[in-house]
Each structure stands twice: as structure tokens, then as C-alpha cells.
Symmetry: C2
Subunit: 202 residues, 2 copies
Amino acid sequence: MAVIRRLPKYHRYLGDLLDKDIQRISSKELSDIIGFTASQIRQDLNNFGGFGQQGYGYNVEALFNEIGKILGLDREYNAILIGAGNLGQAIANYSGFRKAGFEIKALFDANPKMIGLKIREFEILDSDDIENFIKNNKIDIAIMCIPKNGAQELANRLVNVGIKGIWNFAPIDLEVPQQVIVENVNLTESLFTLSYLMKEEQ
Amino acid sequence: MAVIRRLPKYHRYLGDLLDKDIQRISSKELSDIIGFTASQIRQDLNNFGGFGQQGYGYNVEALFNEIGKILGLDREYNAILIGAGNLGQAIANYSGFRKAGFEIKALFDANPKMIGLKIREFEILDSDDIENFIKNNKIDIAIMCIPKNGAQELANRLVNVGIKGIWNFAPIDLEVPQQVIVENVNLTESLFTLSYLMKEEQ
């Protein structure tokens, strides 16, 4: 799992290098930029098929594309976003996700005051219609930007209509069948890690 | 570091138990709720001073408070938030951080159209005034909700006026002196982890 957590970082740095038209890079140079050791980098990349050539370095574009494939970025994902508050709107407005192949197809909210409002090109839909929308629009991923209360019930509904992945911002560990993938973003846990490390530094 | 990443989760679950007025719990029961093994839990908590009593379980409130202390939650933190877009507003509006002792004292933005607008009790201030504000208001933490471009320059400015911690939402690895703590929230990396795991599940 630790390697997997590093792959998106490789992908990001390689994308930056491509933007700068850099076509070839050694593990030593990659190490200087990313901050992992060169031997860690060689080991990680060997794990996934050994992209480098001794004394020659890595082809940046080939490596970028290969890691993209490993990350499942060689396809498109249809997503819906549930909970159109500030956080949900921030995610809906972020163009980087679409560029990476994640297309948000609709926004949902349970609050009658929100339903019908427009966010970018989206009219906010009624949460009651989530099941029909998922079935009719081949939705792969649900982005849950709702509070803890009601999050498990919503996850159950999503699972029942065959959602494959949940990107969960609710501060709760969802119980789902094994074949459904949940990736949590827990902002409070991140903030508490910051305060812990600050305390240790004193 | 892995233990540290688990501590905020213990803290959250123990807080939930307290809300339900549960005063005592065994490592086995904790294991059923949190999902770590009972032996993992005993080992983690022993690391930090052995809170449990054989055959008696843990005192939920004492353990909650003790883990809070370890996480540095037994004090208050003054924070500023820079970048008052949707994400910044979502964070400024989240009452849970204040309850945990993190008080946002001001919002800043570089966009003249944003400066002067009100978000909750905050009038958005001009980013040019960040240094003065930090010096005059004993600010511990800066929350950076800005794009990648300009993030390192902003971090340099924050470091120069003595900020101790940065909660960074910009998709960039900031370079700061060792005594300054940076905790990153990288949403793209989280999303790519989701797509990777979904691909593996197919």
C-alpha cells in the first residue's frame, strides 16, 4: 500500500517535468526533485515493470503514461457529487479532476433550498433521484461531501445500485461490501496530525 | 509515523463513545468498532503509556483526553486561512475545527474582487497584510487554500514571519525549514488512489 500512495506523487512530478519539456531523467535527478531516495525510486519503479535503462535514465513521458495506466487513469470515470455545500462546490469547480478523466455528471443535495440552484453547468438535483441517475448514466464513482449523519445510509443506497467507488469526505468509516472501494479524505485527522507534529517540534 | 496516523482515528471513535455516554471499553470492543485488531490497539496504546487495566478495559474519557494531549489538542491554536475560494470557505465554515481548539482569526485573498467580502464573521483581508497580521495576532498555523502557482512564495513569506505550522491544500511539496511543520492535503493524490484501487478490484 505504501508504494501505491507514492505513485500519484510520481505521476504529479513527471507531469510537471513533461510540462517543462524534460524528456529524460535519472533516478538521482528524480530523487532530488521528489525527495525519496534514488534507491527507493528504483525499487518502486522496478516493482511495476522496470522502466529505466542502466546509465540512461527514464523516459519521462513513457513513465508518466505507464504510471497513469497503473493508477487507472487510461480511462474515463463518470462521477456524481452528493452534498453541494462549499466543499462540494470546490470539488465540482476544480478543473484538474476532469482533465484527469473524472467527469462529474451531476450534483445532488437533500436541502430543498439548494435543489434547482445552478453551480457551473450543473443544476443541483434532488438526492431522492440519485438511484435513477446512477442507473441511467453509468456512474462509477460517488463523491460524498455530506456530514457524518446520514452518510452510512447514503452509502447503502449507492451500493444497492451498484456504485463501484466512493470518494468519502464525511468523517465516518463507511461499511460497504468488499468489492466497493472507499477512499476517505478526513480533514480533521489531517489537522490533528499537524498539531501533533507541531507539539513534537517544540 | 503509522501509529501517529492512527491516533486521530482513536480520538474520533472515543469522542463518539463519549457522546453516547459509554464510559468503559475493552480493546476487543474497540477493535470491533475501529477495525484495527485488538492486539494492534493494545500495542498502540501501550506505546503512549499503557492506559488499560487487565480485564477492566479502558476508561473512555481518560483515554480520549490523554490521546487529545498527545495530539496537542490540550491547547488553542490561532490560524489564518489564505485563499477564500470555495475550499477556503468550506474550511472556514466548518465548526468542528473551532470546537477542537483551532480558531481561524482571519481570511486572506489576493483577488481584489474578494477583498472586503464577508464570509461568516470574517471580512476577507488583502494578502499583502498577512505578515503584519501574523506578527500582531500570535498566529501559529496558516491554512493555504491557493493554487500551486505562488504557493512556495507564500510559504516563504509565512516562514519569514515565524509561522510554526502550515496546513497545505496546494498540490505542491513546499520547501520549508525543518522546524516548520507542513501537513499536506492532496485531493488529486487521494482521487488517483481511488481509481487505482478500483482498477485492482475489477
